[in-house]
Amino acid sequence: MGVDLSIDFAGIHLKNPVLAASGTFGYGADMTDFFDPGLLGGIATKGISLLSRAGNLPVRIAETASGMLNAIGLNNVGLDAFIADKMPFLRSLDDTITVVNFYGNCIEDYVELTRRLSDVEGVDLLEMNISCPNVKEGGIAFGTDEGMLREVVSACAAVRRVPLMVKLSPNVTDIVRMARIAENAGADALSLVNTFTGMAVDVQSRSYVLHNRIGGLSGPAIKPLALRMVHDVCRAVTIPVMGMGGILNAEDALEFLLVGARAVQVGTASFVCPTAMPEMIHGMETFLENRGVASVGDWIGSLAT
C-alpha cells in the first residue's frame, strides 16, 4: 500500500499536491486548532505588498449560489512585518513549502518585492498576483493587458532567485495567450485561476452589497470555468501549472490534476469546511490506491483524449 503523493513542481519537492490558496489561510498559523498545517504540500500566503494595507471598507463579502464574492482589497501586514512576524512560523513547517503571494502597484514594486523575498530564508516559491480584481490601482491591469504582463514578468524574472509563479486572471478573452506571454517572459510556473469579477446588489436597500461594488467570485460555482482554463493552459505551456477554483474535495482536486495541473490550491473550501484540505489529501490517497495508481505523478494529465 501507500500511494506516492509527492511531486516535483518547478524544481521544488512537494510532499503532496495540495496547497492552501492565497488569502484563505492567513499566514499559516490561524488554523492550527483544526489541523496541523504541516500536513499540507504548501501554503500560499495572503498577498504581501511593500507597505501594509488596510484593505477595503466593509461590507467585504457576499454569499452567492455555490460561491462567494470577496472584496478584501489585499489587506496585509506589509513586507517587513511579514518577514519579521509571519515567516518564522512558515519556516518552522519543514517540508511544507512556503509560497509568498505578492502584489505591487507598479513594476518597480513587483521587482523590489521579488528581489527582497528571494532573499528571505524559507521562501520556496514566489506567486506574483497580477490579477486581483479588488484594488483600484495597477494590479488588475497587469493581468489583463498583454504588454504590461510581459513587462512585469520579464522584470521580475530577471531578479528572482527562487522560482517565480505568475497567477493569471480569468477575466480575459484568451487565457492561453496570457499564459504563453508569461511563460515566454520567464515565469517558472503558472497558477490559475484568481477570482472572477462579479457583483451583488440588494433589492431591499436598492444598493450594492459590497462597499467596493465589485468583488471576486470564488467557490464551486467557478469550478467548471477554472477547470477549462487550467486544461487549456496545461496544453499550451511547458512550465508547471498550479490549478485552483472551487475545489471542495478529493474528487475536485483530482479533476484539476487529471487535466494537467501538477498541484492544486484550495481556497474558499476552507471557510466552509476548515478540515477540507487534510481530508482531501487523505481522499486522494484512497482514491488512487483503490485504482491502483502508484504515484500521483501517473495521474497528472492522464485524461483520455
Partner: protein, 272 residues
C-alpha cells in the same frame, strides 16, 4: 481551542414571532465563554453555501456519564439559512465550528452589569448572566424591540435573577420607545461599579456606545458582521478601529470595548 465538528439537533422550541431556540448536543471539548459564537450549517447540502454565525445562548452541562451537554442558540428567521434552520427535524446532523471569538471580559471590580439588548441581540446575555463571576453582581437587562414578540429571553434572564426592563417601539410591551430610554433612566441612578454590555442592531449599539462614553462608563459591544470563515482567515468581517486599522469581528471580536471602535461611541456616527 476551536473545533470543526458535527452536532445533532435535539429539539426546536418556538419562541413566538420569527424567533426559535435550537437545542443541540454540545460537541465542544473547550468551555464556551459568554459572548462567544459558533458557525452553523443549517443544511446538509451546499445551499446556503456559507455557515451562519450564532451567539451561544446557553450551555447545559452533561447529564449522566455519557451525556454531552447541550448547546442552545436563539435564532431569528431573517433569510434563507435561518428559515432552513427553522424547519430542521430533530435528529438532523449539522456541521458546526466553535467556540469562536473573544468573549465578554468580566472585570474584578464589576458591581452592576447592565445588558442592553435589541431583538435577538439578547442571545449572548443569558449565558453571560449565568457566568460564575457574575453571581454576586447586580445584573440588569434592558431589552428593546419593535413589538412585544421581539422581546426575547425575559423568562430565561429572570430565572437567573436578572432584573429585566423592556421597551417596545409600538408600546405593546414595557415602556414605549427605544431601549436607550431605559438606559438613560439607569444612568440617572448612577449605580456604582457599572459596566454596559450591549448587543443588537448597529444603530442601537452606536447609540449605546455614545451614551456610555459621554457618561464615562465602560461598555462592551458584541458586533455583527457578514462572515465567511468565522475564524480569522478571510478578513471579510472587519470593522474599523479607532486607530484607523481594521479589526476582525470574528477574532478580535465579536466583543469589543466601545472605545476601540471607530464608529461606535466617541463623536462618531452621530447620524442616528
Amino acid at each position: 481551542m476551536m473545533q470543526s465538528t458535527k452536532t445533532t439537533l435535539l429539539r426546536r422550541e418556538d419562541r413566538g414571532g420569527s424567533y426559535f431556540l435550537l437545542a443541540m448536543d454540545n460537541p465542544f471539548r473547550t468551555a464556551i465563554r459568554p459572548g462567544q459564537f459558533v458557525m452553523l450549517s443549517p443544511s446538509e447540502c451546499g445551499d446556503p453555501f456559507l455557515k451562519r454565525p450564532y451567539s451561544v445562548f446557553r450551555v447545559l452541562p452533561p447529564s449522566g456519564p455519557n451525556g454531552k451537554g447541550e448547546l442552545h442558540l436563539l435564532i431569528k428567521k431573517v433569510g434563507k439559512g435561518s428559515a432552513q434552520a427553522a424547519e430542521l427535524p430533530p435528529g438532523t446532523e449539522m456541521d458546526i465550528v466553535g467556540p469562536l471569538g473573544r468573549p465578554f471580559e468580566i472585570r474584578k471590580d464589576l458591581k452592576t452589569a447592565v445588558f442592553v439588548a435589541g431583538g435577538v441581540g439578547v442571545a449572548p446575555f443569558i449565558w453571560l448572566a449565568a457566568a460564575k463571576e457574575l453571581r454576586s453582581v447586580r445584573r440588569i437587562a434592558l431589552i428593546g424591540g419593535r413589538k412585544a414578540e421581539d422581546i426575547q429571553g425575559v423568562v430565561d434572564l429572570e430565572a437567573l435573577d436578572v432584573e429585566v426592563r423592556t421597551a417596545t417601539e409600538d408600546g405593546s410591551l414595557g415602556k414605549t420607545g427605544r431601549v436607550t430610554v431605559l438606559l438613560e433612566e439607569i444612568l440617572q441612578d448612577a449605580p456604582e461599579g457599572l459596566e454596559l454590555f450591549s448587543c443588537g442592531p448597529e444603530p442601537m449599539m452606536k447609540a449605546v456606545g455614545r451614551i456610555a462614553e459621554k457618561a464615562g462608563i465602560p461598555c462592551q459591544l458584541s458586533l455583527e458582521a457578514r462572515m465567511a470563515c468565522g475564524f480569522g482567515v478571510c478578513l471579510g468581517c472587519v470593522v474599523k478601529a479607532r486607530d484607523g486599522s481594521y479589526v476582525r469581528v470574528c477574532k478580535e471580536g465579536p466583543v469589543f470595548p466601545s472605545t476601540k471602535l471607530a464608529e461606535y461611541g466617541g463623536n462618531a456616527g452621530e447620524e442616528d
